[in-house]
């Protein structure tokens, strides 16, 4: 039995911790965006982070992916402390993300945008790439094959050569997911992948997130406002409020947690 198979046959709650966030805090001037948060994410889990606006969800993702540096505490990814690493280094280690406001190159095609996600995996230098012969060509073909598999996976075949700027919002979100996956990530950070989508698009996206998790075995950390989606697809939910973690657990446990009900979901039940 290979490692991957061995891992798979274990229930998610028994697998090793892949990403550990230990007592992390971040301040912007007088604003305490994140205060002393600790989370452990296991391999192959889907963990959702929920909370009202300004709870610190995106700031937390930004620290994991290296866009912000934590003031205190540390972040350990697969045994390596990544707290002070640059975003590009963290990406190369296998942490990919999508953005709340889509960050694609509008003038480029779907194919080129996803191909860009392979950039950190490319080895040929500028000179070799310009000559485009031998290794550089071979490498390009191998990367293109991987990208084509993702296009197939995300059912983007008919849009391959379309400029992303001309696509609908839902489709652009899907292309962005494709670009993140092109990194061959071990862990995927999704910042509101379903924001601004209609019901059909949300269901499609939820399906893709589940497929990524099940088919590719990728760990997923998800920020999402749509409670229906969050409750349906997450193994575990972390609730933040004003920079602090106020609850953590399964969908059921979180829904019945009194702090969560009063602080976030209002007086009534879901």
């Amino acid at each position: 039995m290979s490692m991957a198979q061995a891992l798979e046959s274990t229930a998610p709650e028994l697998r090793p911790v892949q990403l550990a966030v230990n007592g992390v805090s971040k301040r912007f001037g007088g604003v305490r965006a994140v205060e002393d948060i600790s989370i452990g994410v296991r391999s192959g889990e889907i963990v959702s982070i929920i909370g009202p606006n300004g709870a610190g969800k995106t700031s937390l993702l930004n620290m994991i992916s290296g866009f912000y540096q934590a003031d205190t505490g540390n972040i350990v990814f697969q045994g390596t402390d990544i707290t002070r690493r640059r975003a590009s280094e963290i990406a190369a280690m296998g942490v990919a993300r999508t953005f709340q406001n889509i960050a694609l190159f509008n003038g480029l095609t779907v194919l080129d945008n996803i191909m860009l996600g392979r950039h950190v995996r490319m080895r040929s230098g500028v000179f070799a790439s310009v000559v485009y012969w031998g290794l550089a060509q071979k490498e390009e073909i191998a990367h293109r094959e991987r990208v084509e598999k993702l296009i197939d996976f995300l059912k983007l075949q008919d849009l391959r050569k379309q400029q992303t700027g001309a696509l609908s919002y839902g489709l652009r979100k899907r292309v962005e997911l494709g670009r993140a996956l092109a990194l061959d990530p071990k862990i995927l950070l999704l910042d509101e992948p379903m924001g601004g989508m209609n019901q059909d698009e949300k269901e499609d996206m939820a399906r893709y997130v589940l497929d990524v998790n099940e088919e590719l075995g990728t760990t997923v950390i998800l920020i999402e406002h749509d409670m229906g989606v969050v409750m349906d697809i997450s193994h575990r939910i972390v609730v933040l409020d004003r920079g602090r973690k106020i609850a953590e657990g399964t969908a059921e446990a979180v829904q019945n947690n009194n702090d969560v009900i009063s602080a976030y979901l209002g007086a009534g039940k879901l």
Partner: protein
């Protein structure tokens, strides 16, 4: 070469091709953005291994195998594998709703189903308890299938792997089974939804199919180097005839598109050497050309319109057998360079030597337009029970009003009620398990009743007037041919579907389904906000647009046949709601029942009607749209404005 084929079977033709054309491409599939080829030798190996796998799972002579999905090489292989073992292929429409699917699969006693992907597998698993004969379910695309653990569920590779093991112990098993097969075995059970009633399974033998294929080869130019695009539903007899039978007979390559959404792109990339398409596709092409032209800059539009008018006038003169003057010849040559060839290239037809429209009548205006642009479009006529072919138009005899010359080896007779009867070796062996229906469809001496009314013209072409039961008379006795009027209406890029009424009524009225894309773009240009189809179709501006379009169409119709009143549908016609067949022919009887309230309002002079429309989802759930829709009058043609088309 073709005369020697009588007395053979499809699997034997495959073995022949694997020997004589081993390294030539037989079938391609676009995956990962690249056309992946399989040679005839590989085609045969794949069919053989799958057949062995089926044998290992107990598939016997006379068993039935069904395929469900888009055109995929493996689905074609699976059907041939069943035929190798003396079994019958039962292709099902991939968009069938649950009840239809259960009816067909049970009625045909299907024991093996090969499905394309998870979506189709889920559909079948949800019906499993009702499919008593099903013993093996095979999937082509493994995506998402890892968590399924039904014991009767296998991947295509697993079956082939089991087949290779079985083959190692049983040397020459498939070859021996093929040798046992006879041309009279039922190769294909083609279910026709028909425009009325429950689907019926037409039994077509190897001999039936090959006889239709040979008749085609004798009438039309087919070459082993041809490239064919397999994009029509696999359950349609036309696809079986071309993508399997003719390909096996001639040896040309079939090409499976990447996905249903990419067909247009793949068509252009491939540039097939011949194309068969139902009227719907040709109408869409026409709309696309009109839209692009309307969207072009002023100068380009001027150019396009000038050369279009020139080409259409020349085409009319040509079809009347009149000579063209030299100036027109020069104009057409210029037009070929600047307009016609680029348009053909955009449509993916620069290499097409011929193209056929069949399955339903195509409007003469659309036909003439495409021909005038240099597309060798011709009509073909056939039906499932005739293995898909009865007559076609030879080069130089294209005519929008006929369906061409009766094929060699085929006889046609017109009976006293004007019904077209056909007799040939391609006529089916009867409906499966429905002897009554078979007796009704056949005369005692082997003639098949097509149900179409028609006559032979002086040129010797068969002319189909209408479905025999559709043609009628207005209250004052004027003949009324609904399809003729509907095709005129559908020439408008804004009208997607139309159904005309008028039998025993004082005037003609019509139900209209707007084209969401063109009307949607038209609305956007006018800053007219809308949310969905229902909303768009209820806009007064859209009603006025369609009213003008109908008025334009009325100008080309004799006064009694002009459409006086119309209503815009709040949803498109859908096969799931029984309004059209899976090949998109209007099911007039169902539409008449469903919209009885509207038809009453047409003739009672009311201006509004409460309509509740039931919608059936693909999983069988139903929901109802309730709305009040406006019934509209059409003014005289003089007031009509010309509306530019945009994309």
């Amino acid at each position: 070469m073709t005369n020697a084929q009588t007395g053979t079977t499809l699997p034997r033709l495959l073995m022949r091709n694997a020997e004589t054309m081993a390294r030539r491409p037989a079938i391609r599939e676009k995956t990962l953005g690249i056309w992946q080829s399989f040679t005839w030798a590989e085609y045969w190996e794949n069919v053989r291994d799958f057949a062995l796998g089926l044998a290992a799972h107990g598939f016997k002579r006379g068993d039935k195998l069904s395929v469900i999905g888009d055109n995929r090489p493996r689905l074609y292989w699976a059907q041939l594998a069943a035929q190798c073992l003396g079994g019958t292929a039962v292709p099902a429409f991939q968009d069938s709703i649950a009840t239809e699917l259960v009816y067909v699969l049970n009625h045909a006693e299907v024991s093996v189903i090969v499905a394309e992907d998870q979506e189709q597998i889920d559909k079948i698993l949800s019906l499993k308890e009702r499919l008593s004969k099903l013993t093996l379910l095979v999937f082509d695309d493994p995506r998402g299938m890892r968590r399924y653990d039904a014991p009767y569920l296998e991947s295509f590779e697993a079956i082939q792997e089991a087949g290779r093991r079985f083959g190692a112990e049983h040397n020459g098993y498939v070859e021996a089974e093929i040798a046992k097969g006879t041309p009279d075995d039922v190769a294909l059970l083609a279910y026709t939804s028909g425009t009325t009633g429950n689907p019926k399974g037409a039994m077509l033998s190897h001999a039936n199919l090959l006889s239709a294929a040979e008749a085609f080869v004798k009438s039309e130019d087919l070459r082993p180097t041809d490239e064919w695009l397999c994009y029509l539903p696999m359950a349609w007899v036309g696809d079986a005839l071309y993508s399997t039978v003719l390909s096996l007979l001639i040896g040309f390559a079939c090409n499976c598109p990447e996905s249903p959404e990419t067909v247009q792109r793949d068509l252009r990339e491939l540039g097939p050497t011949a194309l068969l398409a139902p009227p719907r596709i040709w109408e869409n092409m026409l709309t696309a050309v009109q839209v692009r032209a309307g969207d072009a800059s002023f100068l380009k539009r001027l150019f396009f319109n000038y050369f279009r008018d020139l080409a259409e006038k020349a085409e009319i003169r040509r079809s009347e057998g009149q000579p063209l003057d030299p100036a027109t010849h020069v104009g057409l040559a210029l037009g070929e360079f600047f307009v016609y060839r680029p348009v053909r290239d955009q449509l993916g037809l620069p290499r097409a030597r011929w193209a056929y429209t069949g399955g339903a009548p195509l409007g003469p205006d659309c036909f003439r337009f495409l021909r005038s642009f240099g597309i060798n479009l011709k009509q073909i006529y056939g039906s499932t029970e005739l293995s898909g072919l009865a007559s076609l138009q030879p080069d130089g005899e294209a005519n929008p009003n006929t369906v061409g010359r009766v094929c060699p080896g085929t006889e046609v007779r017109i009976d006293d009620n004007n019904e077209v009867l056909v007799r040939s070796d391609a006529v089916f062996k009867g409906y499966y398990k429905q002897p009554d229906a078979t007796r009704e469809a056949m005369t005692g001496d082997g003639w098949f009743r097509t149900g179409d009314a028609g006559f032979m013209d002086r040129q010797g072409h068969l002319v189909i007037i209408d479905r025999a039961k559709d043609a009628g008379k207005l209250a004052d006795g004027t003949p009324f041919a609904p399809q003729f009027i509907e095709n005129k209406l559908k020439f408008s890029p804004f009208i997607r579907e139309a159904v005309a009424f008028g039998h025993d009524r004082p005037f003609v009225s019509a139900l209209i389904a707007i084209d969401l894309v063109t009307v949607g773009n038209w609305a956007e240009r006018r800053n007219l906000a809308y949310t969905n189809y229902q909303d768009l179709s209820s806009k007064p501006e859209v009603r006025q647009l369609i009213r003008d379009e109908i008025a334009k169409c009325n100008a080309t119709l004799p006064p009694p046949a002009q459409v006086r009143r119309f209503m815009l549908l709040n949803k498109e016609f859908d096969a799931d709601d029984n309004e059209v067949t899976r090949t998109r022919k209007i099911r007039r009887r169902f539409v008449t029942e469903r919209y009885a309230a509207v038809i009453d309002a047409f003739y009672a002079g009311r201006n509004e009607v409460d309509l509740s429309t039931e919608i059936t989802f693909e999983d069988g759930r139903k929901s109802t749209i309730k709305s009040t829709v406006a019934v509209n009058d059409v003014e005289s043609p003089a007031t009509a404005r010309r509306e530019p088309v945009y994309a």
